[in-house]
Structure formats: C-alpha cells, structure tokens
Symmetry: C2
Subunit: 194 residues, 2 copies
Amino acid sequence: MSQELFKHLNKYVEVSEIDFKKILSFFDSRSFSKKEIIVEAGSKCDLNHFVVQGCIHMFFIDDKGTERTIQIAIENWWMTDFLAYHNRGETDFYIRAIENTQILSITHEKQEQLLNQFPKIEKYFRTIYQISYGASLMKIKYLYDLSKEEIYFHFTEQFPEFAQRVPQYLIASFLGLTPEYVSEIRKKNVLKPV
Amino acid sequence: MSQELFKHLNKYVEVSEIDFKKILSFFDSRSFSKKEIIVEAGSKCDLNHFVVQGCIHMFFIDDKGTERTIQIAIENWWMTDFLAYHNRGETDFYIRAIENTQILSITHEKQEQLLNQFPKIEKYFRTIYQISYGASLMKIKYLYDLSKEEIYFHFTEQFPEFAQRVPQYLIASFLGLTPEYVSEIRKKNVLKPV
C-alpha cells in the first residue's frame, strides 16, 4: 500500500527501496472509515497527511453552521492546515474521510528529523508546495474572474476524477457554491440542446 | 542592497558570506520605476522575483477590463506565477512596480543549477512555499467566511505595513472588493462613535 508514496517520491527525487524503508518508518499508517473525522478543529495541528488510498476533505464550519470545504485530496495528495502545521498552532479546520481511506501521517518533529536525515526529500516537498501554492493562486483568480457556472465546469473539466468520486455537495462547497446551485446548473446543462 | 536576501536566507538556513556571493551570481538585479511593468501577461514565465526594496503586485485583467490583484509583495517576498514558472508555461498575469523597486530575478534553469549546487536552499524554498501555500488557503477561508467589511479590517490589522504603503484601490482589488466599497467602509468606521 505504501508503494503509492514510494512512487510519488520517485516522481520528483530518486529514492532507493532501502532508503524508502527508513523513510517510511517516520510515518504512521492509519485507516479511517467513510465519514470518520481525522482531525478536529481546535486541536493542535501536528500532522501532515499523505493519502495512500481513498479521499478526504478539509473544512471549517461558518457562523451559519454550514460546512465549507477548503481542500479535497485523493491518492498522492498531501493535506494539512499548512500554516498551523508550520507554526505548530491550533487548526481552524476539520479533516474527514469522504471514502474508506488509508493515510500516512507524519508529525512536525518527525518530518524535521526525516528532512535532516534525507535532505533530498526537501526537494520533493519544495516541488509539491510550489505547485500547490501556484494552484491555490489560480483558484483565487477563478473565484475573482469566473461566473459560478464557469467555475463549476472549469473544475469538473480540469479534475474529472474528483468530479466522478466526490459527492456533488462537497464539490459545490469546495467551489464556494451551494449544492442547490450546482444541481440547477447541471440540470440546465443536461437539458441544453446540443 | 542584496543583503536583504542574505538575511532572509539566514532566517531559514545557514549561508556563509562566501557561499552567498556564489548564490547571488545566479540572480539578476533589476530596478523598476513606480508603475513600470515587470512582466506582461501572455509572456513565458521563466523568472522568480525576490523584492529587495519596494513593492510590486501581480494582477490579471478581467473581461470587464478591470485589473484584479492576486499577490502583493514588499521586501523579502517572492513573486511569480508559480504554476506557470513550474511548468515553464505562459503566464496569465502581469507584474507591476507599485513603488520604485529593486528585485533579484532568477530563471527557472538557474534556480535548478543553484539548488543542485547548494541543496540547502531547497529547505529555504520549501519553508517559504509551505508558509505561502498555508496563507493562501487561509485567504480562501476568509473569502468564504468573512463579510466584505471583516475581510478588509482583518487584512489591515494583520498586515499594517501593507495597509500603510499600498494604495487603497490595490488593497481593495487584492481583497476582491471595489475601491468604492473600501472608501465607504473606511468612512463609516471613521465616523463611528468610540
């Protein structure tokens, strides 16, 4: 199962099987059932999570009591509240399994030890974060630039795997839309003459 | 002047004066006058920029012809279209000097050479990007969670230096607000009884 991480590391840096065994020992492998909470808002953010199998989302609850999804991660994606993780502070966010999920979690302290022992993993994380930060800036551009309908179709075209696996109401939440609105634009577009 | 970068590197990793001289040779030092364009949208994104002195912003032009600011950077901040820079693709964004500005720019190719020659700089960028990505996720949270007025006051409280140096209409644009709206909430709050 942890071969996912081995393959993902080797996409960006060269890691031998022998080194990977040592690298893996810094992580805890954990399983969660569909809908199970992985992280509670208000807790100390001390873990960074790599999705080996399944799907998870990070969300907060707004003052109307509505869950608002900020990140969705499937296999090979990392998830945490990166600012709180960096500062070793409390997180404002929950993380929950959308499907039955297996993750590899690493504490802040163990990540520091891992990076000291295997400095090449710095390059791996630098690349991952560079891409993620860039993608996050593009998401802000879309939120400013596109109509709600365009945001929805742009996302489903760009990430068809997410659109297929993740429930509609979570995609709506992730894109800052209501589930009713997404259902409406889907209906409108299904009924549109070709 | 380039001492800014030396100090900033040493905030996260240990770099000697001798190594810094070599590191600096990978960069081009460039000066721009207030309002001068540094990067044109549609051009190949091959440079990452570190602000030594001054202030710059990254923006796109929406279909109504309005400039929408996505990033603002003062001293010690990095700026580029990180996704296009990673992919060596074309950028959708302009970068312009808000004040008379001096930057250090590095090409994608030279950054790779720099990181090969000084692997410890990976840790520097990994940390910078980890913080930036985390901050970007928090910005999306604020866009979803806070009222327009709350977004404005949250930003000006959290980044007083930006609020002081950057023209109101650019802060408005960065926060997804109109300049008229910012002027209105400022007026309303100045007139509020204490």
